[in-house]
């Protein structure tokens, strides 16, 4: 008779490799999302502890119910004007994406990334921040720039890498940088900005400033080491930062379960690091705004970092180089239980008499026209690969503050 405490094990071990519930031609089972009814999740006190938020990290803060009504503790303090601004910014962002996608197909640029279906998150949070705060975005938060009213022509010139490109043709399209708009320089290296945002926030605290930082990362990129570093530093130094995780369920072709999302949430990680954390409906503009404002107030009150997992869905392809029909159901976005952020806000605003179908259609056509005009103007400065591109001599500038001798020689070798 065996004295081992374990039962006899005879089956060979097996490596577990998570899979999405559906592949092309099938239907996704979205029950893994663990949704809470609108209004069901508490609004904690600003000085809540991380462990007190632990239950909230598996629930879902939602304000808008299926009838378009704003319900529950997070519904209270949203100004009508904020809703109008949000609607305009979301419509404009979607129109911009649609037009730039076409521009890429027409080979006016090499590359583009849409944020289709995720507009509410960047727009809503930006409206909850103050002038002077610094956001550390990924490549899918163009809604920040649109909300801030950055020149569309300017943004397009960056995408077209033309003579008027503010980044002088050095950067891949969509890797914008707008210091004045509180939009940190985008890097192709994932998650690097997450810990940088924490450092920026630490600096603000060191200087006794009142500005806060926001950090942005996608679900897939939470697997990078810098995510861990940011949570550690954010917690240790009680940095005035909002740590956003945009869980759009997909990292290119990889379902969020492969990033570590199976049977857990990304918000749960924040709480485990000692950071108060919430899980929020990312397609509910009212929830995005209310929770962002709460987190911003916490940060500004020296109460430290907040982590927010935004549950949303990447409705479009990952990028213009991607074909999602190769790895997920073609109609997946239509079945995503949290719907479309613009449609949901529209229903709510119409119900409250703040908006109408006519205004909606009018705003849409006005933005289409404005964006078409802007693109036309941007194109007068050149397209990618045209003669009207940033000068070759500019390639050697800004590597260092002052150009060192070896770069002077190399520039001369090129004859520019």
């Amino acid at each position: 008779m065996s004295s081992s405490p374990n039962p006899a094990v005879t089956d060979p071990l097996r490596l577990h490799v998570p899979e999405p519930s559906a592949r092309p031609g099938e239907a996704t089972d979205f029950s893994y999302l663990q949704l809470s009814p609108a209004g069901a999740v508490d609004k904690p006190a600003l000085d809540v502890t991380a462990s007190q938020t632990t239950p909230l990290t598996t629930q879902l803060v939602r304000v808008l119910d299926d009838n378009g009504d704003a319900v529950g503790p997070w519904a209270a303090d949203i100004d009508d004007e904020v809703l109008r601004q949000a609607m305009h910014a979301m419509l404009k962002t979607r129109a911009y994406d649609a037009r730039m996608l076409i521009a890429q197909r027409q080979k006016k640029t090499s590359f583009y990334i849409q944020c289709l279906g995720e507009e509410a998150i960047a727009v809503g949070q930006t409206l909850a921040l103050r002038e002077g705060d610094m956001q550390f975005p990924t490549y899918r938060q163009q809604g920040i720039l649109i909300t801030k009213g950055v020149s569309l022509v300017d943004m397009m010139c960056q995408v077209l890498s033309n003579a008027a490109d503010p980044l002088k043709g050095r950067q891949l399209p969509i890797m914008y940088s707008y210091k004045d708009a509180g939009f940190f320089s985008i890097s192709g290296n994932l998650t690097t900005q997450y810990i940088q945002a924490v450092g920026w926030a630490m600096a603000s605290a060191i200087k006794g400033d009142t500005k806060i930082a926001t950090a942005w990362v996608g679900d897939g990129a939470t697997a990078e080491g810098d995510f861990h570093a940011a949570l550690v530093f954010g917690h240790v130094y009680r940095a005035p930062v909002i740590l956003n995780v945009v869980n759009n369920q997909w990292a290119i072709s990889t379902f969020q379960a492969i990033a570590g999302g199976e049977n857990t949430t990304f918000a749960a990680r924040g709480a485990a690091y000692g950071i108060p954390s919430l899980r929020v409906d990312g397609n509910d503009l009212l929830a995005v705004y209310a929770v962002s404002r709460w987190a911003a107030e916490r940060a500004r009150s020296n109460l430290g970092a907040t982590m927010i997992e935004w549950v949303t869905y990447r409705a479009g392809p990952h990028s213009t180089s991607d074909d999602p029909s190769k790895y997920r159901p073609a109609d997946d976005a239509q079945h995503f239980p949290l719907g479309d952020p613009i449609e949901r806000l529209k229903a709510h605003m119409i119900k409250r008499g703040l908006w109408s179908d006519e205004q909606h259609e009018q705003a849409r056509s006005e933005y289409d026209a404005e964006i078409a005009r802007a693109l036309k103007e941007a194109e007068t400065h050149g397209l990618l690969g045209s003669d009207n591109r940033p000068g070759a001599a500019d390639m050697f500038n800004d590597v260092y503050k002052d150009m060192p001798e070896h770069l002077r020689r190399q520039r001369q070798q090129l004859g520019v």
Binding site: M175, F184, S185, V198, A229, K401
Partner: protein
Amino acid sequence: MSQNDTQTTGGAPMTMIQALRSAMDVMLERDENVVAFGQDVGYFGGVFRCTDGLQAKYGKQRVFDAPISESGIAGAAIGMAAYGLRPVAEIQFADYIYPAYDQIVSEAARLRYRSGGMFSAPLVFRTPCGGGIYGGQTHSQSPEAIFAHVAGLRTVMPSNPYDAKGLLIASIENDDPVIFLEPKRLYNGPFDGHHDRPVTAWSKHADNVVPEGYYTVPLDKAAVVREGKAVTILTYGTTVWVAQAAAEDAGIDAEVIDLRSLWPLDLDAIVASVKKTGRCIVLHEATRTCGFGAELVALVQEHCFYHLEAPVERVTGWDTPYPHAQEWDYFPGPARVIDAMHRVLED
């Protein structure tokens, strides 16, 4: 002291540790945007004492301990620099800088370029480097080549207390990201590779006078530490002392150049010396293949070809991880430099 150095009167002998500490003290005093942080940097004053007393003097908001996370330290420093601070971040050993490599290469080095000058990273990563201390594989490395290779970085390495302070102040003031490599073998006294002889402290070193206050040693300027006509030895860090000892031991009229700034470097000083001597040896502790010496050899070949009387020699660490028991078989000491000088002079 070169003619370009900012002159300051007075001073006393300092170790390299004291000189580095003094540089940070001076800059913390002068510029309220300077902050210093890293593992054990705060209360304890650093595992090498380089930040001793600074937290007590300037407070925890300016000098503080960090979690054991090199990418976290580097990334946070970049964010602070983007805000407008001038962080001096310490990585405890250069051997442990690799987890921060993505932040240094992909972010600090490129921030100014990729943002069209909108954002920049005026910061310094201080890190003790080099061998000769029985440090084994992860307390002896010289990773300068992987930083010198990266566009947008400045890589600096002092070889004495005066330069250490002046170069560190210049690095903190510089608006580009600086990798500041400190040869830990030189922290307490010069070391010429004669491990079988007693080592003298910096306090016993004749010309070691370090001013108390502010001064700089300019970046991108080499120093001719020993004038000679027979052969040029291009080197930096601990091997500056090895080269001088080798020249004395062999009675060879070698000119020893301490590069001080590895990249961007002082090409004029190199070219002038090699054109004068017609012979050149490149000497560094780091492994040979694709080491920084390869770039020096290429530059000498490109700019001094018709003045060369012999092939350029490299004396370097071997292409192996840094061993423990074989410390003195690995470290490029005076004997190996003398052999190289004889080879170069025979041709």
